[in-house]
Each structure stands twice: as structure tokens, then as C-alpha cells.
């Protein structure tokens, strides 16, 4: 029998030690008795039966020697060999995407995946090495090339589910790097194969999929969209909710809308199979700051109601931005289309001046500064230290070089990810005339034009948002289109530091850029589970930080961390308040003012943002076919088949056997031997006790005075 630790057999040297101790232990206690007469006669009888008596007395010694031998064997770790079912270098990938939290397999798919992975390890050849990768939003190595199976099991057990979309492609690329240097590698993927993003990474090693999840496990309804819009009256808000049914059967769920932990409304919504249902809840109170939507069972008392398999997508949150009246100053001769579009902006007050009245008339009586100044067909010699929108600037300035006029400029190719163009359709827009402006280095082209002259560009200039529209709206048919007010709303939203568009949630795991209010040195961010992190910019005077721990669903709250010697954050002290009078030479250094959005950030208000799943691909939890993943790897090598041309035996042929240690039956035998030894050693005591009890009982039963 082979042994993993044959040196441990040296423990057998304890056998003679046990014998020696046993012999030494036979020191007899002298006991005075009236006479040894009868004992001598007894000893004569015992002597006649000596071999059997010696055998009985030796049985305890034999059992103890057996235990010593068993312990030495256990320490030597005997094993039996069998052909290994896995490669010598194994990479185990555990899928931790949101769908792995589905409960069609108790307790959940991820637990089943962990167990399947650990169970597969028994086919590892002797000396085999294992690496473990956690495949969530990004891939993370939790164990690297170790032959310590105990550590591997611990690493697998430490893997926890996430609520984000999984990326197996990233994990496969990492696995490829780990396996590329091995001549005998294999990749084991424990997943439900419900791939939100089918990977395309090819791997130079065989892939085997340990699929978990009920093939019919598609019973899931999810909240896939949530938005909060302010009513035109700016008094109330509406909540827009979209719920999808990924099941193959009709489902009925109940929707609960909570505002700041108070239940606002409930709706029972029927949803057809593979369909969506949209719900609008109006008249959400204006003072609500956080909206939470819950998808619960339609009838808790119905015992036949089948629960949703994935709970992560049954809750969603939205942060209602705080309302603050913004003051917008328009310098120009008046454009009714523009003024009309600007009047639609919620929480905004519009003021107007002619170019002649500027800048004298631009001083606000309350001492505050303007949130946005729009120059229409006019550019002052000195630009104010506020966000600026220049429409058809006639001359060059710090906002850009103007070189002439373009007639009938065509609209170039529009970017699909441009936020200013969200929901803006310019496909039928014609522009008669536009200033020929050169795109400055601080800006990006929002609406590119032809001949290298953008028609609209925006960016951050001198620490302040700025944008230039090369054409006057009335020089086009844009004001007559639905796109115009949306464009104006998006553009002013970026310039004012807060979007009037529907609240956008953050995806789990996505980094979030947070602006530090003036007067604060950092942000104290509290996660939905109550844990907190302090974020301090690395560079002195930094005005924003990036928060990366957005792996939990829910509402995050960031509060400013005041500077040690400055006034408390959020105060209206002179150092915190923006200047009431635009300074002609104000440059707005990066250290003193924030990038895009800082001007609109109220230093006294905490910053909230919501993290939601909203992933239809991830909420479609029906397990997929393993072949999609297995086809990304090489075919499994067969024994006897040669590897590379000219090579000898294949990796399978040279692969060591798997070893099954046989400690369990040995321990079982040891326990039995211990029990026998204990019983033998204490047999007399047990029998004496029993006889004592039966004797007393007998005396109690006997009538008194008999005999």
C-alpha cells in the first residue's frame, strides 16, 4: 500500500515502548489478607488454564498495540490510486453573477456551484495544482496554483454572490494566462450558463462546465426600469416603473412604492409571459428624497403561490434630486423660441438683459451669482466666472475661434452615447446658417458639422462648464421640432450641474465620480448596509473623488468632510458662496471650483445616488447550454493520443493518478478498537455495578426474617 507520508511509519517504533510500559505497569500492590490458603489453590487452577488466561490479559495490550499501529498508519496517509479525471493544472472559475443567486437549487445556485467544484477536486491527480477565479463583474483570483486542497476548498467557500452582471470572458482571459504555460491544463467553470454577455475569449485548454440550476428555472419577474420625473408644475413628481416577466407563464405580482420609508402606493400587476408591464405612479409628494420600489408576491396567503427565484431584481431605488431654484441670465436681443424652451426648465428663473446693459445690469441684488449666463449673438470681452452658453458668437473669444459663417451646414454623424443628445432626434433638422467655429481643446463636439466646424460643442473651460452653439435656433427649423426643448433641457442640465432628465441609476460595481463641495476636503460615503468609507482626493485641492465600492444595491449617501480649520461644510460663508458679481478676470482655478456639476452642488445637502441592477440579460435566469462555453476551449485529450506533432505520449498518458486517501476506514477501525478496549478494561466495574444493583433488588424482594 502506498503512503503519502511514509516517514510517519516511524511511529511504529512506539510499539516496543508500549510493550515496555505495559510490563512496567505490572507492579503489584501488596495487600494483606487473612490467609492465602484459598488463593493458592485458586492460583493452581489458574495455572492450569494459563494459556487462555494469558491470552485474556494480553488482549488489552494487543488492542493498545493495534491503536499505535493504526495511528502510525493514519499519519502515513495511505492511499489507493486511480486514473485522474482532471488535468494536472486546473483552473476553477466560479460564476458569481446576479443570476447565481437564484433559488431554484437550494439554497441557491452559487452554493451548488461551490459544492460541485469542491466535489470535482477529488479527480485531481497527485501533485495537481489548482487556481480559483471568481467571475463577477470582473475576474478576481482567489487562489493561485496551489496543491493544498484544503486551501482551495477554503478559497471556494469564501466566494460570495454579487448583484452585478457577470463577465465570464474576463475570467476566461485570466484563466488562459494561468493555463498557457502548462502542458496539461484544464478549465472548470461552475456556472448556470445564463450568460448576460456570451464570452468570445478562446482558451488554449479544455473547458468543462459544471452547470447548476434547474433547466426549467426561469420563474423570475424583475424591475428593469425606474425613473422619477418632476411634473411641469414642479410641485409633484411621477414615478415610472417597468416590470418584466422572464417566465414562460403568466404571472401576477404586487408592486409597492415607498417614499422615504413610507408606503405611497401599491399596485397588483398582471404580466404575460416574456412581456413587460409599465406602471406610472403620480403625485409622489414633493418632499420625498428617495423612492424605493418593491416587487412582492401578489397574495401572501396563497400557499400555491410560487416565489420568484431571484430576489436581487425585485427591488429598485431612485434618488430624487433636491430642488433648488436656478437663476439663468440671457444676454441678447431676445429669441422667443429660446426663451420658451428655457421657460420649461423646472426650478429655474429666467432673467434677460440686452448686450448694452451687460455687465452692469448683471449684478444680482441678493449678492448671489448666476447659475448660467447665455450669450445670444453676443460675446463680452471678459467672460464671466459662471457656466456659459454662447449661441452664435459673432467673434472669437475664450470660448473659441470664429472664422466666418457657414451657409446650410450639414449635421455630421452624431454620437449615440452623447448625453446632451439623449432623446434628441436631429434627423430632420435643417440649419440655414451657422458660425464657423473651431473646436477648442477643452471641448468635445456634440453636434459635429461639416468642413470641420462643429455646430455644438461643450466641455469644461477654466473649471467651469461651457458650451457653444454655432447657430441661432431661429436660423434653423429646430425650434419647430420636439427635439429643441429636449436639446435645450439636456444642454442646460449639463451646464447647470444637475440633469433635468430622469434620474439615472448606477450599475453594481460601476465607479461613481462624486464632486466635493466647496469647503470640504473629502466625502464620507455610507453604503446601504451601513458601512462607511472616507474618500479624500489624492491631490491637494482635488475637487472630485471616485467611489468604487458600489457592489450593493440600494441608496448610497455621501456627506462632505469639512476641512479642519474651515467653517462647517454647507454654510453660506463668504468662502463657500459663489461670487455674486461675475469677475471679469475670474479664471476659476481647478482648485477652487469643481468640474462639471460642481456649480450646481449644494454644499449643505448630502449627495445620494442609487445602485440598481436593471439588467434584463442578467434577470433572464434560465440556465443555458454548457456547449456555449465548452466550445471556447480545446477538445479534451484522450489517452494514447499524441499531443503536438512529433511529441511522444499525450498529457493524459503522463498525468499522475489521482490518490484517494483511505483514512476514513482506518479511523473507523481505530474507534472500534478503542470501544473494545474501553469495554474490556471496564468490564469488571460494569459487572460489579450490575451485580450490586441486582443484589439489592433481590434483598428488597426477599421477605424479612427468612433464611
Amino acid at each position: 500500500m502506498p503512503f503519502n507520508s511514509p516517514l510517519a511509519l516511524l511511529g511504529l517504533l512506539f510499539v516496543p515502548a508500549v510493550v515496555a510500559m505495559y510490563l512496567l505497569r505490572l507492579r503489584r500492590t501488596p495487600t494483606v489478607v487473612p490467609s492465602t490458603l484459598l488463593w493458592q489453590r485458586l492460583a493452581a487452577d489458574v495455572e492450569a488454564n494459563a494459556p487462555w488466561q494469558k491470552l485474556k490479559r494480553s488482549l488489552l495490550l494487543l488492542l493498545q498495540l493495534l491503536l499505535v499501529v493504526i495511528l502510525a498508519l493514519l499519519a502515513a496517509r495511505p492511499f489507493v490510486e486511480r486514473p485522474a479525471g482532471l488535468a494536472r493544472d486546473l483552473v476553477v472559475i466560479i460564476d458569481t453573477s446576479a443570476s447565481m443567486s437564484a433559488t431554484d437549487v437550494p439554497p441557491d445556485r452559487l452554493s451548488a456551484a461551490r459544492e460541485a467544484a469542491k466535489d470535482a477536486l477529488k479527480d485531481l491527480p497527485a501533485g495537481g495544482k489548482v487556481s480559483v477565479i471568481e467571475a463577477g463583474r470582473t475576474a478576481r483570483i482567489v487562489a493561485t496554483g496551489t496543491s493544498d486542497i484544503g486551501r482551495v476548498r477554503q478559497a471556494i467557500d469564501s466566494i460570495r454572490p454579487t448583484v452585478s452582471r457577470g463577465d465570464l470572458g474576463d475570467a476566461l482571459a485570466l484563466a488562459q494566462q494561468l493555463a498557457v504555460q502548462s502542458g496539461d491544463a484544464e478549465i472548470l467553470i461552475a456556472t448556470d450558463a445564463a450568460l448576460a454577455v456570451p464570452p468570445t475569449t478562446r482558451v488554449d485548454a479544455p473547458i468543462r462546465v459544471l452547470r447548476v440550476g434547474d433547466p426549467k428555472g426561469s420563474r423570475n419577474q424583475a424591475i428593469v426600469a425606474l425613473a422619477v420625473r418632476t411634473a411641469p408644475s414642479a410641485v409633484t413628481r411621477s414615478v415610472f416603473i417597468s416590470v418584466a416577466n422572464f417566465d414562460l407563464e403568466y404571472a401576477t405580482r404586487r408592486l409597492e412604492v415607498w417614499g422615504d420609508d413610507h408606503l405611497i402606493e401599491t399596485r397588483t400587476i398582471p404580466i404575460d409571459a416574456q412581456q413587460r408591464a409599465d406602471v406610472i405612479v403620480d403625485d409622489v409628494p414633493a418632499d420625498v428624497t428617495t423612492i424605493e420600489v418593491r416587487l412582492v408576491a401578489a397574495d401572501d396567503s396563497d400557499p400555491d403561490a410560487r416565489p420568484d427565484l431571484l430576489a436581487a431584481d425585485d427591488r429598485a431605488w431612485a434618488v430624487v434630486p433636491p430642488q433648488r431654484t436656478r437663476n439663468v441670465l440671457v444676454i441678447g436681443n431676445g429669441d422667443p423660441y429660446l426663451e420658451t424652451a428655457l421657460s420649461y426648465l423646472p426650478n429655474s428663473r429666467l432673467f434677460g438683459l440686452t448686450p448694452a446693459e451687460y455687465p452692469a445690469g448683471a449684478v444680482r441684488k441678493d449678492g448671489t451669482s448666476w447659475d448660467l449666463i447665455i450669450f445670444e449673438g453676443y460675446v463680452p470681452a471678459t467672460l464671466p466666472a459662471t457656466p456659459i452658453l454662447a449661441i452664435a458668437p459673432p467673434t472669437s473669444s475664450g470660448l473659441g475661434e470664429v472664422g466666418g459663417v457657414d451657409k446650410d451646414p450639414a449635421i455630421g454623424s452624431l454620437g449615440t452615447d452623447e448625453p446632451i443628445l439623449r432623446y434628441v432626434d436631429l434627423s430632420t433638422t435643417h440649419i440655414a446658417e451657422a458660425q464657423h467655429v473651431t473646436l477648442p481643446s477643452w471641448a468635445r463636439a456634440v453636434i459635429p458639422g461639416t468642413k470641420g466646424a462643429p455646430l455644438l460643442y461643450a466641455g469644461v473651460r477654466a473649471g467651469l462648464p461651457a458650451a457653444v452653439m454655432a447657430f441661432e435656433p431661429r436660423q434653423s427649423d429646430l425650434p419647430l421640432q420636439v427635439a429643441f426643448p429636449i436639446l435645450i433641457a439636456n444642454l442646460t442640465g449639463e451646464l447647470l450641474g444637475g440633469s433635468a432628465a430622469p434620474t439615472a441609476a448606477v450599475r453594481p460595481g460601476d465607479p461613481v465620480a462624486l464632486t466635493i463641495p466647496p469647503g470640504a476636503i473629502g466625502l464620507h460615503v455610507v453604503r446601504p448596509d451601513g458601512t462607511a468609507t472616507d474618500l479624500i482626493p489624492g491631490a491637494a485641492g482635488g475637487t472630485s473623488v471616485t467611489f468604487t465600492q458600489s457592489d450593493l444595491l440600494g441608496v448610497y449617501t455621501a456627506t462632505p468632510i469639512a476641512a479642519p480649520s474651515s467653517s462647517p461644510s454647507g454654510s453660506d460663508g463668504p468662502s463657500a458662496a459663489p461670487s455674486a458679481t461675475p469677475t471679469p478676470s475670474a479664471t476659476g482655478s481647478a482648485g477652487s471650483s469643481a468640474p462639471s456639476g460642481a456649480q450646481g452642488v449644494d454644499p449643505s445637502q448630502p449627495i445620494r445616488f442609487a445602485v440598481d441592477l436593471f439588467d434584463v440579460d442578467e434577470s433572464a435566469i434560465a440556465p443555458g447550454p454548457p456547449r456555449v462555453l465548452e466550445d471556447l476551449g480545446k477538445p479534451q485529450p484522450s489517452p494514447g493520443a499524441s499531443g503536438a506533432p512529433g511529441a511522444g505520449s499525450s498529457a493524459v498518458d503522463t498525468r499522475p493518478n489521482a490518490r484517494d486517501e483511505i483514512w476514513i476506514p482506518i479511523v473507523f477501525i481505530a474507534l472500534i478498537a478503542l470501544c473494545i478496549e474501553w469495554t474490556l478494561y471496564h468490564r469488571d466495574a460494569v459487572l460489579r455495578g450490575w451485580r450490586g444493583v441486582t443484589g439489592r433488588l433481590g434483598r428488597l424482594r426477599r421477605p424479612a426474617g427468612s433464611g
Partner: protein, 320 residues
């Protein structure tokens, strides 16, 4: 110092220990009976199995034909017989001359042989202690029955015989004698001592042996004593520790008399074997006693003296 009177009277004065009855002598072992128990014993008679030959007439049956009122047998008339004993009815019927014979009563000597070997001074309760009490009770019965009572202690190779006492008034002398008995030092040859005791016996009487019989030749002790003309009663006294030894483990058993040792591993099987051996050994004595027309009683020192006298010995008809 107590004053003990001879004769049937009771002692009149005793300087006893505080709390003890005033009439009890101070030399007495505190384990001796109280006054109440002594009065109970007075009612018992020591029953003899067969008539004895003795010099004094007493209230006991004798094998001799004497001058008493109790008819025993007929005999043909011989010249010189007392004509007053002729049975005229038999003459009338058979026309032959026969004389009547009558039972002659005479007193007996009760010899109590107390094994004083070192092995008797062991056990809980102590065997020698028990034997003394039994000897005192039996001796008192004898004294109360107007018999002569003699105590002899077997120790070494001899029997130390005390002076014979007679009359119930000598009971405290008896108790004093018994209280003074000490176990012998060194080994005891019970056979030799029994032979010595047998040689000291005169006439027929009752011999009561109180011993643990822990001697390799104990059966010869019984034979020696049974071969005398006295009736033999063997009270085989053993302690509970000898009947059921509380031994366990690997031991070296040391003989209390000889000092010899023997190695024993005392497990349950060994103890059971010992008990079997003990039972066979006692059975051997019982059978030997039966063959020699002696009485054998095996006793544990745990047996209360009341039960010994009024139950065990009465059942064996040793005591009336």
C-alpha cells in the same frame, strides 16, 4: 476493679466506665451484651443430642441408667438386682422376671475452643471479636443451664485452657476471660493445637470450635476433635471480605500469619473462581462433619448475634 462473686448470686458492685451499667466489670470489652440480652439468654437451654457420661447429675440425659423417674428400658433379672424394680406386669404376662431401667441425668462440660490465630484478628467485623461474643453467648447459656463451661484458646501449637466455670453467677468471669484473649503472634498449627485441646478433654461433653479453619489441614482438626467422646459443634467464622473479596487489579496477597505472598490479578472471573473454591471448601467441611456426626455451621461475622443464637443455632438444634 470489679468484684465478681461465685455462685448463683449476682455481682453487687462494679466500678464501671461512665455511661456503662454499674454492674458490668470495667475489664469487659465494650462489645459484650447488655443486661437485656443476658436475660434473654437465660431462657435458653443448651440442647444435647445424646445422653453423656459424667460424674455429676444434672438436668441432661445420660447414657447411663440411673435412679431417675424417667423410664428407659427392660433387663432380665440378675441376682442382686433391686427387687423394687421388678416389673410385675411383665411377670404376669410372660412368667419371666424383668427389671426396669431409668435414665440417669448428669451435668456436662461445655468446652469452647476459640481459634486465637493471627488470621482471626482480621476482617470487618473482626472475626476474633465475633468469636468472643459467640463464645460469651454460648458460655452463658451453658452457665445458666448449670453446666460447666471451659474456654480454651488455640494459638501456636497449643491450647490454653482457662479454668472451668459453673453457675450463672460466673458469667462475668467468663466475659472477663474472653475479653483478655489476644491473637497469637506468628503462625498457628491448628491441628497440633486441636490435638492438645482434645487431650485436655475429660469425659464426654460438648466441644464448640469457633474458628476460620484457615489451615491447610483443617479437616484433620475436625477429625481430631470429633474423635473425642464429646459432641462437636463447628462454628466456621469468616468475614465478609473473605466471603466476597473486594479486590481488584494486579495484587500481591500477603498471608497475615505466614507473611507469604502470592501474585493474583483480581478480576471478576478470578473472584468468581475464588467464591466457587470457597463454597467447595466449606462444603467439604460440612460433609466431613456430617460423617463424623458433628454439627457444622458456617457464619459470617456480619450476622447479628441475636440472629446467630435465636435463629441459626436454634434451627440447627444446637440451642433449645
Amino acid at each position: 476493679m470489679a468484684m465478681i462473686e461465685d455462685g448463683p448470686g449476682r455481682p453487687t458492685e462494679s466500678v464501671g466506665r461512665p455511661g456503662r451499667p454499674a454492674f458490668l466489670p470495667s475489664e469487659l470489652d465494650p462489645t459484650v451484651f447488655d443486661e437485656g440480652f443476658l436475660r434473654q439468654l437465660e431462657r435458653l437451654l443448651l440442647l444435647m443430642r445424646s445422653p453423656v457420661r459424667g460424674g455429676l447429675k444434672g438436668g441432661r440425659r445420660s447414657v447411663k441408667r440411673g435412679q431417675s423417674v424417667e423410664f428407659a428400658d427392660f433387663r432380665e433379672y440378675a441376682a442382686g438386682d433391686d427387687l423394687r424394680q421388678l416389673d410385675w406386669n411383665v411377670l404376669a404376662r410372660l412368667e419371666k422376671l424383668f427389671v426396669k431401667l431409668f435414665v440417669e441425668e448428669e451435668d456436662v462440660t461445655i468446652t469452647i475452643l476459640l481459634d486465637g490465630s493471627a488470621s482471626m484478628a482480621t476482617g470487618r467485623p473482626d472475626k476474633l471479636q465475633f468469636a468472643k461474643r459467640a463464645a460469651a453467648a454460648l458460655g452463658y447459656i451453658g452457665l445458666a443451664s448449670e453446666d460447666r463451661v471451659a474456654v480454651s484458646v488455640l494459638g501456636g501449637r497449643i491450647a490454653r485452657r482457662r479454668i472451668a466455670l459453673r453457675g450463672s453467677g460466673r458469667v462475668f468471669r467468663l466475659l472477663t476471660e474472653l475479653s483478655a484473649i489476644r491473637p497469637a503472634d506468628g503462625p498457628t498449627d491448628l491441628v497440633a493445637a486441636a490435638r492438645h485441646a482434645a487431650a485436655q478433654l475429660s469425659g464426654r461433653g460438648v466441644v464448640i470450635l469457633l474458628s476460620d479453619l484457615l489451615d491447610p489441614a483443617a479437616d484433620r482438626v475436625i477429625r481430631e476433635l470429633a474423635s473425642t467422646r464429646s459432641e462437636l459443634i463447628v462454628l466456621h467464622v469468616l468475614s465478609p471480605d473473605e466471603l466476597d473479596p473486594p479486590l481488584e487489579g494486579d495484587l500481591r496477597l500477603v498471608d497475615s500469619e505466614t507473611g507469604e505472598g502470592i501474585d493474583v490479578t483480581a478480576d471478576l472471573a478470578t473472584i468468581d473462581a475464588y467464591k466457587g473454591r470457597l463454597a467447595a471448601w466449606k462444603e467439604g467441611f460440612a460433609q466431613l462433619a456430617a460423617r463424623r456426626q458433628a454439627t457444622y455451621v458456617d457464619l459470617s461475622t456480619e450476622v447479628p448475634l441475636n440472629e446467630l443464637i435465636f435463629a441459626e443455632l436454634r434451627r440447627r438444634r444446637v440451642v433449645a
